[in-house]
Amino acid sequence: MNDKHDGTVAATGGASEIQQRRVQVAQRRKKIDNDASAQYIQVCDHSFFYGSAQVLFDLNMDIPERQVTALIGPSGCGKSTLLRNFNRMNDLIDGISHRGDILIDGRSIYDPYLEVISLRKRIGMVFQKSNPFPKSIYENIVYSLRVAGRNRRAELDETVERSLRAAALWDEVKDRLRETAFSLSGGQMQRLCIARAIANRPEILLMDEPCSALDPVATGKIEDLIHQLKEEYTIIIVTHNMQQAARVSDRTAFLYMGRLIEYDDTETIFTNPTEEQTEAYVSGRFG
């Protein structure tokens, strides 16, 4: 898929920086190909800066496919920043820069030949604060299809039902799909956002504290949902709730002050962590 660009690069010899990048990426990819346990998402020596302030320090982690990976850590440690880097949401912010790389399926997300839009189409995102569009419930869900130019009625209808069922919202809203999304309750809105995020069948689902504004019942529903979704999607979830991390995730990464302190199977992290800081944090004895 990438190779078709090679001719183009040779033609535009002036872009030496770009070429350099590509060489780096190719080298890394070779390394990965040789690695028997190649992972789905790979974060390699990744550092990130808001202006001159560094918030992520040389992160390295491999995230497996079709599993739930939880990012935990105290407030301000860079969880959201890392999560938003996976779909390059931080591009919106002025003055950002990064070092190192993030590979998804072996391909760098910073590849200058990769279109950000096509990247984002493969990655669904649920935000900390639910953010339904000022449109009907139906239109909220089919939005990602419409912007991709898919407007066939049958496909849209099918998508709406599938997504809403997956988000455990179908029974509650099936009779009011044309009503504005603002008529939903807070928990319903968050589930709508989840339904929207999975509408065009992304490969990866990023969730930034999806339950922070929800009551225990709605939280339970969403956790069940995550369990089901993991069959199909690779999920990365940020959470402040240790129990939740323990309940839903297969792997857990503990970040502290922009550094990856420990990254292991969830069970190990919660029962037998290697690092003292991790132990302190998961047991609530932190800071």
Partner: protein, 578 residues
């Protein structure tokens, strides 16, 4: 203060600590009153202004009784040498006695200190339409039944006693004949119908021919200026001449027909008597409309009111705008405001989108934003000068040289016109739209944008499908403000296309139907022209009020429409597909 201290006394005992006592007093209460006072002052001024305009504006059309005033013979006051005056009492007020000596002032009776203003009409006979009379010199005020107030084509209104109607066939009907009124009414209606016919022929049919002839003349002039003509041009020139002859042939019968109708207007003569006793006559064709003001019931008055109001709104102006209607001004204002809105919307919105969504927020963008805000404070006349220099002379002149060179040196687009006026005002109001749009765009939550981008939408798709619809109501608010400012603006228009009397409307039945290059009339300028440029400003005052009222109502109507559209958008874009 004293009661205050008393009221607080018990608290002093309970709360020893000074801080807690202060906190029990409701804070900021006084400022509620200050803010309320601010609003009250503002509201009062607006209500007063609107009330003044509404009362005076509508009052113009309300038929008022006509008083016959007789003066005391032992006093010096006379009117036209006689002791009677006929008119509508418009004002009763304290006399200005500052130019009298102290002794004279002391000798004045209480009644002499007041005076009455009378609307006399009959400007042709009396030379003035208004006069003041000292109240003390008036012996009696009566309201004679048989007074007529007539609106005439020339010289304004007339107040008189009818005498007789002399018909073309020689028959004469006296005013006391029972059939007199119905007969006169019939004749006046006939005359009005014929007048409309003449208007139709002259304005539209002959007007169209004139326009075409004018264009052909320009062609002909172009050929005659050429040193040598090619064969093609020669044949074209011959075609022009043929076409010209055809038009002349069409013109003649129409002109004859108009002349025939016109002569019929003067068949019947109406004889009337003034309050001075003079008998005068005029052709019935002079009368636009008449009524017996002292015979009217309330319903009758309301009917007259409606009729006069309708003629004012739908009629064309007469007599240097001081009489007749203001339809061309209403129409010109309306069309110009619409054209301005059409021009200002896309520009303002596009500029705001670029500024807010695409431009890198930095020093330069900040400077641009400040410049835009300041642009809103530039005196409007400066925009007028810019419009004249840029649109009229530069762009319009360029268009003339490129497309209308045959008409030169007579300018087509190179002179003020409704298009240039609209664009000038659009330029003037574009900051308002930009600022409002930017605010509306900024109010769209960041989460919505991020959500859209996360769904794989491009930046433009996000703007197009989410940001713009969500900010449409705010943008409409900007448009409302821009229209309100644009519709009431006069100064720049005087430079770029407004005239006191435009021969044609900017929109008519002659191809290409919309004449963007035409000069037009405008209510705001009409007000200025009536109030300050007409020979008798006292007589024009009611018209000024009425025109002001119409302008305000027009702006209100345009704004209401915009607000309705806004509410519709609000509903549409929150619960529907894009």
């Amino acid at each position: 203060m004293g009661t205050d201290a008393n009221r607080r006394a018990p608290e002093d005992i309970v709360c020893k600590d000074a801080d807690s006592r202060r906190s029990t007093r409701p804070r900021g209460e006084t400022f509620v009153w200050v803010t309320a006072m601010g609003l009250t002052v503002g509201l009062t001024m607006i209500v007063f202004l609107l009330g003044l305009v509404v009362v005076n504006g509508f009052g113009v059309f309300w038929p008022r009784s006509v008083a016959l005033i007789e003066f005391r013979e032992d006093r010096g006051t006379r009117f036209q040498g006689g002791t009677k005056a006929l008119g509508v009492i418009t004002i009763e007020q304290e006399r200005d006695v500052r130019d009298l000596s102290l002794e004279q002032r002391a000798s004045l009776h209480a009644a002499d200190r007041r005076e009455k203003q009378l609307f006399l009409g009959n400007r042709d006979a009396f030379g003035q339409a208004f006069a003041f009379f000292p109240a003390g010199d008036i012996r009696s005020v009566t309201y004679p039944d048989d007074v007529i107030r007539a609106e005439r084509l020339e010289w304004g209104d007339a107040l008189f006693f009818p005498v007789r109607l002399e018909m073309e066939d020689g028959s004469v009907i006296q005013a006391d004949d029972p059939t007199f009124n119905s007969l006169l009414l019939k004749r006046v209606d006939d005359v009005a119908a014929r007048r409309a016919q003449i208007h139709q022929i002259e304005r539209y049919e002959i007007g169209r021919i004139n326009l075409q002839m004018h264009q052909l003349e320009q062609e002909e002039r172009f050929y005659s200026r050429q040193d040598e003509l090619t064969a093609q041009q020669r044949s074209d020139r011959a075609a022009v001449a043929r076409r010209m002859d055809q038009l002349r042939a069409q013109y003649q019968p129409l002109a004859d027909q108009a002349a025939r109708l016109r002569s019929k207007q003067h068949q019947d003569t109406f004889v009337y008597r003034l309050v001075t006793g003079d008998e005068r006559s005029m052709s019935v064709g002079q009368i636009v409309h008449y009524y017996y003001p002292n015979r009217l019931t309330l319903v009758g008055r309301a009917q007259i009111f409606a009729g006069q109001l309708w003629r004012f709104l739908s009629g064309f102006p007469r007599e240097a705008n001081t009489e007749g209607g203001i339809f061309p001004a209403i129409f010109g204002t309306f069309v110009m405001t619409l054209m301005m809105s059409v021009a200002v919307m896309p520009f303002g919105v596009m500029a705001a989108i670029y500024l807010r969504e695409y431009a890198r927020q930095g020093l330069f963008v900040r400077a641009v934003r400040i410049a835009i805000n300041n642009l809103a404070g530039v005196p409007s006349i400066v925009f007028g000068i810019f419009g004249l220099g840029f649109f009229v002379y530069f762009v319009g002149g360029g268009i003339d040289r490129m497309f209308f060179d045959r008409a030169l040196p007579t300018p087509t687009f190179g002179t003020g016109g409704i298009l240039w006026a609209s664009l000038t005002l659009a330029l003037m109001t574009v900051p308002v739209v930009i600022v409002a749009t930017e605010e509306a765009l900024a109010a769209v939550p960041r989460g919505v944008r991020e959500g859209s981008l996360a769904c794989g939408a491009s930046k433009w798709q996000t703007i197009r499908y989410l940001v713009l619809p969500a900010s449409a109501p705010g943008i409409m608010t900007g448009l409302v403000l821009a229209m309100a400012r644009g519709a009431g603006e006069v100064a720049p228009l005087m430079l770029v296309g407004v005239v006191a009397l435009a021969p044609n409307l900017p929109l008519d039945s002659v191809f290409p139907f919309i004449h963007l290059e035409r000069k037009f009339m405008h209510l705001g300028f009409h007000i200025y022209d009536l109030g300050f440029q007409s020979p008798d400003s006292e007589a024009a005052k009611p018209m000024v009020f009425a025109t002001t009222l119409v302008l305000i109502l027009l702006v209100v109507v345009l704004n209401l429409v915009a607000i309705l559209v806004r509410n519709h958008l609000r509903k549409k874009f929150t619960a529907d597909k894009f």
